[in-house]
């Protein structure tokens, strides 16, 4: 590796060179937005606001990170928001009845994971296109959640548990630490395991992947399962943060998650993208929405802006992809 006659080139699969440039562009975009907001509004740089942005980014990131793996395989999981809601309600119930936060956490993760696997089964065994399978699942989960909660709210969790969402450690919100942990885990999984490499291969060309000996169906089950489990994780954080569970907490989560994935550079057509990119995407989206809040823009504009962002991000993805090859 220290052969001086050979030009230094990047190892395959690592986050350097071409991918790195893309990430740097996005990071600078985030930085630019920060600068603009700081100039436009005094309270942007206040400690409270920064911590708030970081925490919001974390919450968004948990959902979007699992979703990233699904999108890497050229699929989509539209049920993540509803998954968060159902898992949160189930976990909340368990905590209330057993008093054990641990059981609650396990419930949330398990519920999310099972939903994810069901999605995976629909896509692999039943061969239903992912966007429509998860769309149907969205409504099934939605209905189940509303029925289960019957209009009620679950309140009041043990203070220890609430720390997960609202607590601080060395001045930073705990979710941020979780963000860093999962960012590391996600990146390591995608870039430093053979399963990650196989997932990229499946997304880039599923036929060639299969003909290269990759068990495509098993990998798809894996990514949908992970997406569901991460939704389950997100539900725990939400639970801890909001100190309550209601049926409607998932409604406005799916679109921003998709937006974060797309802004982060993951292509809807598979094979391109990183978990770190999704983190930056989540950051950028949160900054934009935060900025809108600070500038007293009517909160009602948020879904509209998110929708526009999704469209623009896909369009950019398509035009650059065409130039590539």
């Amino acid at each position: 590796m220290t052969d001086m006659t050979k030009p230094v080139v990047a190892p395959p699969g690592s986050i350097v060179s071409g991918d790195l440039m893309q990430l740097l562009y996005r990071l600078s975009a985030a930085l630019l937005i920060c600068i603009i907001l700081a100039l436009l509004n005094d309270s942007f740089l206040s400690l409270g606001n920064i911590l708030n942005v970081l925490r919001q980014t974390s919450l968004l990131f948990f959902i979007a990170s699992g979703l990233t793996l699904v999108v890497l395989t050229a699929g989509l999981d539209l049920s993540v928001g509803a998954n968060v809601a159902l898992s949160a309600c189930l976990a909340g119930t368990v905590i209330q009845h057993t008093g054990s936060p641990l059981l609650g956490v396990l419930t949330g993760l398990l519920a999310g994971g099972i939903v994810g696997l069901l999605n995976g089964v629909m896509v692999t065994a039943l061969r239903i296109p992912s966007f429509i399978a998860t769309y149907g699942m969205l409504w099934v989960l939605n209905g189940l959640t509303y029925w289960y909660m019957a209009g009620e709210t679950i309140h009041g969790f043990p203070p220890g548990f609430r720390q997960i969402g609202s607590g601080y450690l060395f001045g930073l919100p705990i979710p941020v630490y979780l963000l860093l942990i999962f960012l590391a885990i996600g990146t390591a999984f995608a870039q430093r395991t053979i399963w990650g490499q196989e997932i990229y291969a499946v997304g880039a060309n599923p036929v060639a992947a299969r003909l290269s000996g990759i068990p495509v169906a098993r990998r798809l089950l894996l990514v949908y399962g992970v997406s569901g489990t991460m939704a389950g994780l997100a539900s725990i954080i939400f639970l801890a943060r909001l100190n309550s569970a209601e049926a409607d907490i998932g409604e406005s989560l799916t679109l921003p998650a998709i937006a974060a994935v797309l802004i982060g550079g993951t292509s809807l057509f598979g094979g391109v993208g990183t978990v770190f990119g999704t983190f930056i995407g989540a950051l950028i989206l949160t900054l934009v929405l935060n900025g809108m809040n600070l500038l007293s823009v009517n909160a009602n504009w948020q879904p509209f802006i998110t929708g526009v962002i999704v469209i623009v991000a896909v369009w950019l993805d398509m035009t650059t992809r065409r130039h590539k090859l």
Binding site: M122, I128, G136, M137, V140, N142, I258, W301, G307
Partner: protein, 313 residues
């Protein structure tokens, strides 16, 4: 009738007819009051709005597309009816506003899918967000009440003994039938889904007709908005969200395929009624609407799975 003989995608008894018969049979037995005249006419009346949406959705799905924004757009158009008719005192101006907004979104969807080439489910997911946002913005999150009597009366008025909404639904069905089976536009809809290349070989531009399909969806969303406001006697910022799901369910259950450019309009109507019957029956059994939604979702998955099986055999 030409349609049932030549257009039915199934060579045996259509699955939706069986499903409908089963549902009616089951609910007739176990749900109290299901088979009463009042209930049945109620189901049919309530199905009219969904019919107005499911008809164009059939066309869109036949082109291998999807319109996820329909529910949000209907909500928006219903708000437009409420706001404009409240401000001007005229129901017709309200309807006009609704139609303009509906067609506008239809054009946007069509352009994104046909010209920008964005996959339909993503494009309409984005416009769903946009429409949803606009709903909140124009209504400021509040319901719009106090609208002119004329609007409400449209829903309860009758024409030749039938409720006006039912008449409109029937007319819509007739128009769509002619559109799909007797016009060039309809022919090209089949081609868009079945073999898009054939259109290009014939010297036609697929984009133009694809945009037309989405625009018709927008138009119908505009009309449906009027009836929605009329039914609720108000404009709600979230009333119609999720209707696109029922529309897609109706189309899927009705037998229209998602991948082969085959469509059965009458099947969609049966599908609409099936969805309506399912919801109504579960309602009478005191099942909350949330579970109804879940059941419809499950129904869609089953229908899609069967459709997938059929296309692979």
């Amino acid at each position: 009738m030409r349609e049932s003989a030549a257009a039915s995608p199934l060579r045996r008894i259509p699955g939706v007819a069986v499903m409908l018969a089963l549902l009616v049979g089951i609910f007739g037995t176990i749900a109290p009051g299901f088979l009463s005249l009042a209930n049945i006419s109620n189901v049919l009346l309530q199905s009219t709005i969904l019919t107005l949406l499911a008809l164009p959705m059939t066309l869109i799905i036949m082109t291998e597309g999807l319109d996820l924004s329909m529910g949000a757009v209907v909500t928006l158009t219903s708000l437009m009816v409420a706001i404009v008719s409240l401000a001007t005192g005229s129901m017709l101006l309200g309807l006009a506003a609704a139609i303009v907004v509906g067609i506008g979104f239809g054009m946007l969807n069509g352009w994104l899918v046909a010209i920008a080439g964005i996959p339909p489910f993503v494009a309409t997911l984005g416009t769903l967000g946009m429409a949803q946002g606009l709903c909140l913005i124009v209504s400021d999150g509040q319901s719009v009440v106090g609208i002119p009597r004329a609007v409400r009366d449209i829903y309860s008025a009758t024409l030749a003994g039938l409720p006006v909404p039912v008449v409109v639904a029937l007319i819509a069905y007739a128009v769509f039938h002619v559109l799909l089976y007797h016009t060039r536009f309809g022919t090209y809809i089949f081609a868009l889904g079945g073999n898009r290349e054939a259109l290009r070989y014939a010297g036609l531009s697929p984009a133009k007709w694809l945009i037309g399909a989405y625009m018709i969806g927008g138009l119908m969303a505009g009309i449906a908005g009027l009836f929605m406001t009329a039914r609720m006697n108000a404009g709600h910022p979230t009333a119609g969200l999720g209707l696109e799901f029922d529309a897609i369910a109706a189309v899927a259950v009705g037998g229209t395929s998602f991948e082969r450019g085959n469509g059965w309009l009458f099947g969609t109507v049966l599908g609409v009624i099936a969805v309506g019957v399912l919801r109504n029956g579960l309602n009478l059994l005191a099942l909350p609407s949330s579970l109804q939604v879940a059941s419809v979702g499950f129904l869609v998955i089953v229908a899609l799975f069967l459709d997938g099986l059929r296309s692979r055999s």
